[in-house]
Symmetry: D2
Subunit: 284 residues, 4 copies
């Protein structure tokens, strides 16, 4: 029986990378279905490769072994082999704004995320009903004051570990995660910011957009790093506003963009299509 | 014979503004063709009105007189009456990048600006040929070093006054105009900035966009104020980029957006559709 | 106490329409908050006006009476006065595809439709649970074969009358409504078609779009007339596809556009912003 | 010295295609810079591959020979090897509307087409001045009545052959080319149609769009086939219009989209990024 796999490779650019990888795959009976590559610079740059292929299930171990023993070392490569059937386990953190959570839940039910939502946690208890209705575990992890944050973050880390989460999605989670949390969580954390970063980083972006009189508002999905709103951008989009829009109507229009941008970013991440490169991303 | 006029009114919001203005116009035999209004707040806000109407030419003075003596004072209004046949006179300042100048010249030739380009000035002599070919005056006003700027700005002011310019357009003019120049020029100055402001204000926006890894790049047309890149925004737009784009291809893609955004802003300004409100604009 | 009203007027274009209407409103103590107008042709055309205003509740009857006795007849106008608090009652017809229904339900719960969903009917029973969960009545009106359609349409007409529906929304309702139904329903019917009309009218638009190799797919919300997919268009939008998209991924991408386009059309209709003009619409 | 090449391959899909091609390229010292592939169906479909690579100039013949003798036959492939320095020679046919011609000329001067415009021909003499000003040959080939068309087409074929054109671009050329012409011209012919095909194929699309009341208008660049406006689509785009737009303003707005769409299509074609597949295109 045939299985669909993804191989993602990052290495110094040099001639022969595609030849080496495709020769190995062909030797193991794989059929390349989709392939994308990018080099920051053919001379002296970094090369990124993502190959999607079908292969008989019993040949998969051989591919991993030969990548580990031959091709990987010869290319000085970091690489990872993903089984497309092993869908990523998604944990969602949320506060009170529910629109991006509801969008993720809806797309998950329609099987449009290429991943499984396995838990939702929140610093408020408001959304318990909407989550539990779908048979998903909901955890209320309150944060009250600065001294409560370390305990809350410890609780979250335990819940994420127990849920075996592969990725954490901040669906308008209004708490700033500490560097210590990010260092210990061990999986990527994706945030949706309600502005077209780097414009209006920080709090109150729609208020500031109204004050500045911009003609487009946007949203940005990015990996979370210790520096607030400064991590690698995965996806952005915008929508038009006019002088007639007030903060409320900009917030409503922005909510649609936040939902669309976050859903795309989560799906692309789950499909192993997003590669990090310094503080930027390659999206294949 | 019938003429097309525009009346623009700004005043404190209160009941009866539209009634007063439309009664006056009707009494003078005018037919309202287009009307747009906006209030920042029906209670205690500012009201903006732009009315486009046709009227017999010999009734125009009466409209102006009755606005000045009756309706204007009764509404505590600032207002202006424009004859649509009296097209605005546009002066363009440019440096070496020629794409936005060429776009303006092309749209002027096609009569798409609702205004007349009457002169081009530059701190370089490179574009003289392209401008003079169209029968337009080209003025080379070099700026070398800080001490040369006051003299250059004086020369520009003289040229603008002699050309009777109604609006100055900075088509990628790479000199920062002094507060003194802006105070003395006496007409609006429109700039095109090659980023989606307030992101990447200042120099080198495409380089900084590449470094930050944004997924959309944009351009912003705004009125120039003394604070650099912070004046009222008239129009903005964006286009999508990917990790494959380098600074050169982002610059090329951005050039198209700069052209489109600046051309729209200049046309709207010439049509008296842009009203300033603090540091923002109403675009009717 | 102040109430918000909408007055919509259609009449032959002539001088003085705005003056007459605004004088009446001012005389009744109304404050115009928003006004939009359009003329197909200042000479001999049709004039459309929509005015939004606030007024003391006890003055509303006077406005209606004076429109009926004075201003309306003098302008030879069709007009309608709407109380913004009297929200439109929306009935939704659906078959098995649930995405546009879910979008409408979601936006209704968030109070973004400016109307109330009062019933859902379907020719299948599948979506009963999702609808009843929200406390809404769900009616299963099966249609089996040509001879069953008249009975089904009669049943629908009774349900719509009993629900006092102001507008019927076909949220991917896969039955063609007869001319007789449309003549008797007495309220506007809005449909979402899953193509950028007039391209791919009729069945299977995504299949045909794939065959034709188009680079954008779209959706169209329109009022239903007896001629299939040919009624007045309210709103359209598109999204980009590539050669890599198959019918399934085009259907998924199209679903997002269908949801967005239908939600905008329903909201604009409920806000009395859509005026019909022959087979086209004015959207203020 | 290193040269940049493009190899385009079409063949029945089977395992090992990428391995075979990349092994050959690696053996000849080439470095793959960019690679894109698409399969209509991994089982029994057609596979399309475009590889961009750098290689020492003296190794190029070897690549061609080994593709011809080994890899091509073994894959049952159609393939073509292009030298990126050998820029395509573009002939433009135009009538009286000049906007798309001017756009192409402007982008050619800025070196944004990846090709060389080598001649312009027209059935009118109006644009001679604008073309000759740039040092380009302009040919007036009048067509008067049906009996004149065969002679005009013969004259065009001679001019195109003499100019060694690699591609013919119809920049709003208002004559229908005969099947005989298309059979004999021997190079691809690209047309810009001023609608979002398949909507409004044929004449007068803006008039028909206004009548139908669409909310978006568009343009389509496609390869010309004998069936009018039905050839493989290369690129499409749209822009928003409202009820306020008349045919004139829709024509003006559409002109911008026509320019942008045609310029992209010509550039992509010149970069060998457009592969035909039946009546559709793959755009890598």
């Amino acid at each position: 029986m045939s299985d669909r796999m993804r191989l993602v490779v990052t290495c110094p650019d040099r001639p022969g990378i595609v030849a080496a990888v495709s020769a190995l795959l062909h030797a193991c009976g794989a059929n390349i279905v989709r392939s994308a590559q990018y080099s920051t610079d053919p001379a002296d740059g970094t090369f990124f490769l993502r190959v999607e292929f079908t292969v008989e299930e019993d040949r998969i171990p051989e591919i991993g072994e030969r990548m580990a023993s031959e091709v990987g070392p010869s290319l000085d490569a970091e690489w990872r082999l993903w089984d497309a059937r092993r869908r990523k386990r998604i944990a969602v953190l949320v506060s009170r704004y529910d629109h991006t959570l509801r969008e993720l839940l809806y797309r998950w039910q329609r099987d449009e995320l290429d991943g499984e939502i396995v838990m939702v946690a929140s610093n408020h208890d408001d959304l318990r009903g909407a989550v539990e209705l779908l048979g998903l575990p909901f955890h209320h992890v309150p944060v009250s004051g600065a001294e409560a944050k370390p305990a809350a973050e410890s609780a979250l880390l335990s819940l994420l570990a127990a849920a075996e989460a592969d990725v954490v999605v901040l669906a308008r989670y209004m708490q700033i995660l500490s560097g210590d949390f990010l260092a210990r969580v061990g999986v990527p954390v994706i945030n949706i910011h309600h502005s077209f970063l780097p414009a209006f980083a920080g709090a109150g972006p729609y208020e500031r957009a109204k004050d500045r009189g911009v003609k487009l508002i946007g949203a940005t999905a990015h990996y979370v790093t210790e520096e607030l709103d400064a991590g690698p951008i995965i996806e952005q989009d915008v929508t038009r506003v006019t002088h007639e829009d007030d903060v409320a109507s900009m917030t409503a229009a922005g909510a649609d963009i936040e939902c669309a941008v976050l859903a795309r970013a989560v799906r692309w991440h789950c499909e192993d299509r997003v590669l990090r490169h310094g503080n930027t991303t390659i999206v294949f």
